[in-house]
């Protein structure tokens, strides 16, 4: 039944009159309705580049009577401005809260465009933002070929996991760490939408550089399965039924984990791990070869440390 209200959705809020499409990086930026008063903006299933100006991650927003809640803000203040304009076309309330799911730049560098809003994230995430901020700015500037107003990239305030009420709108916050070491997952029980951040990747290969461990990531995904959400918004790729997103992310992580363990246990090197044929099931996912290469190089020494040298991970 919840899937049927979409047609009438536009009437519930009072968006500005149909207006010019919002452009970013010479492409129209669009918001897809995914539930009542809830939209997502899907990033390109690509790596950061000059041709996508950094728009590779997803954002989502919920229009509430007391103001709009934004989940993740994109990879630059410039993008944040375009996002702000887009949101104004769908919600009559300005953004009052920005929730950042984790410390990767494509998820919080757009915060500066929402300076009248409260910016919130987990304490663990904020610590990682503080640690990596400078390097992440350098990285974004190098890969997108654009200068960021460095001083505008500020850190959000912290919020604790658990039940929170923003204005009068309740959300359930979960503190996880599988993808980045500090991952905020948001469950909206009013609409049964689950905002996964990069705990979930769908049709776009998972990035694993900052994962504390692929097994931990899988365990946390299993915990999230218990939430009975109706629709999941991954950090990258389209929204989908939660099981679909969990299955794809978890299958890939399980395969990667097993593969790295097998090669390390044989005393072979990272290049042997790279030489494997990637299963067909994953080859249809965008950027698989690229992320797989990155993951092997990042993670292989950790598998050797654990399996050969007995160093606790």
């Amino acid at each position: 039944m919840k899937t049927r209200f979409l047609a009438g959705l536009a009437l519930l809020t009072t968006p500005l009159a149909a207006s010019e499409p919002v452009m970013f990086c010479e492409r129209p930026l669009t918001a897809q309705p995914i539930a009542e008063n809830t939209w997502m903006v899907e990033g390109l299933r690509e790596e950061l580049s000059t041709s996508n100006c950094g728009h590779i991650g997803n954002q989502a927003f919920i229009a509430t009577p007391n103001g709009t809640i934004l989940i993740d803000s994109g990879s630059s203040p410039h993008f944040g401005e375009a996002l702000k304009t887009l949101i104004a076309q769908h919600s009559s309330h300005p953004v009052r809260w920005v929730l950042n799911t984790h410390h990767h730049p494509d998820h919080f560098f757009g915060n500066a465009a929402f300076d009248e809003a409260e910016h919130l994230t987990l304490a663990s995430t904020r610590a990682l933002m503080a640690r990596d901020r400078e390097a992440l700015i350098d990285n974004i500037e190098r890969l997108t070929g654009r200068n960021l107003a460095r001083s505008h990239i500020a850190l959000p305030d912290t919020i604790e996991a658990g039940e929170v009420t923003l204005g009068s709108y309740p959300l359930m916050l979960y503190a996880m760490s599988g993808h980045s070491g500090g991952d905020l997952v948001i469950m909206d029980h009013s609409t049964d939408v689950l905002f996964l951040g990069d705990m979930g990747f769908y049709q776009r290969a998972a990035a694993t550089a900052h994962s504390p461990g692929l097994q931990q990531w899988q365990e946390e995904l299993n915990e999230l399965r218990g939430l009975n959400a109706r629709i999941a918004v991954p950090g990258h790729g389209p929204s989908a039924p939660p099981e679909t997103v969990f299955d794809q992310t978890a299958h890939y992580l399980a395969w990667l984990d097993q593969h790295l363990s097998d090669v390390a246990n044989e005393g072979l090197g990272a290049n042997h791990a790279l030489a494997v044929e990637i299963p067909d099931a994953f080859n249809t996912i965008a950027l698989t070869k690229y992320e797989f290469t990155r993951s092997v190089v990042q993670l292989y020494p950790r598998y050797e440390a654990r399996l050969l040298w007995g160093t606790p991970q």
Partner: protein
């Protein structure tokens, strides 16, 4: 002027003939080289790097040099972390085909310290090796394998840092060596044809290129049999990554091997590995 144009003019015939001849000549030239695709005696560098003539002269002198596909160099297409790029050499097909291999030299064309290592397989080493290297920028990586009087050269090209939505090098920064300095760990994996040694030495491998940071790096590894006889030797430069991790491939030995290492400050490290 009004003469009807014949379908086959003399010019067209000439053009067709020229094209045919060109194709024929091309075939003549291509045939031998396809037949001998593995060995290319031409001086033309398959990786097209302007540094090739310089390092060829510096590292290989005036000995005969051939580009040889049997010298396989594996590496990721791009350097995810420029401080730790895994490379792997496999020249076993070349080794199986002729005289023993006496020297293996590797370098990175565009690194400030270009040379990576000089490996002498001696009596017990096989022509395979893996280790992690530093890559200053996108560059050709070369391995030259000496068999008889000839250097057989292979290589690969590695693109510069990827990076993506995460930052290379932050999470796995190798600055933990202070607590574990000098720790030499190793495992031996045996099968019928070889004993694979995987070895890791906790060491900063400071190149001395950063002001205020003196050169402090491992210069050599050696492999000894149980009688203390040297059976293979590997000299390395500071272009090898921090915490050098080596994959060595040795002829089977009942008693295994002892691996020793020495740095430029005179520190010595050693570990024995038995099957």
């Amino acid at each position: 002027m009004a003469t009807p144009t014949p379908i086959i003019t003399l010019q067209r015939l000439a053009a067709a003939l020229t094209a045919f001849l060109a194709a024929f000549i091309w075939l003549i030239f291509m045939l031998p080289s396809t037949a001998l695709a593995t060995v290319n005696t031409a001086e033309q560098d398959p990786l097209n790097s302007f540094m090739w003539p310089v390092y060829r002269e510096r590292f290989l002198g005036d000995a005969t040099v051939v580009f040889d596909e049997r010298v396989i160099v594996n590496a990721p297409e791009f350097a995810e972390d420029s401080g730790q790029v895994p490379i792997e050499l496999d020249a076993s097909e070349l080794e199986d085909s002729g005289e023993p291999i006496t020297d293996i030299i590797a370098w990175v064309d565009l690194n400030p310290i270009p040379r990576l290592f000089h490996y002498s397989p001696m009596s017990h080493g096989l022509a395979k090796l893996s280790l992690n290297i530093r890559l200053e920028q996108a560059s050709a990586v070369r391995v030259a394998v000496k068999q008889g009087d000839t250097w057989h050269v292979g290589g690969t090209y590695i693109e510069a840092e990827g990076g993506g939505c995460t930052t290379p090098g932050i999470a796995g920064a190798d600055n933990d060596w202070e607590n574990t300095f000098g720790e030499l760990q190793g495992r031996l994996f045996a099968n019928e044809s070889e004993q694979r040694l995987r070895v890791r030495l906790s060491h900063p491998m400071d190149s001395g290129l950063i002001p205020s940071q003196p050169a402090f790096y491992v210069q050599s590894f050696e492999l000894l049999d149980q009688q203390g006889q040297q059976v293979a030797a590997l000299d390395i430069e500071a272009s090898v990554s921090a915490n050098p991790t080596l994959g060595l491939h040795m002829r089977p030995s009942l008693e295994g091997y002892v691996i020793g290492a020495r740095d430029n400050n005179g520190n010595r490290f050693s570990i024995g590995l038995q099957p």
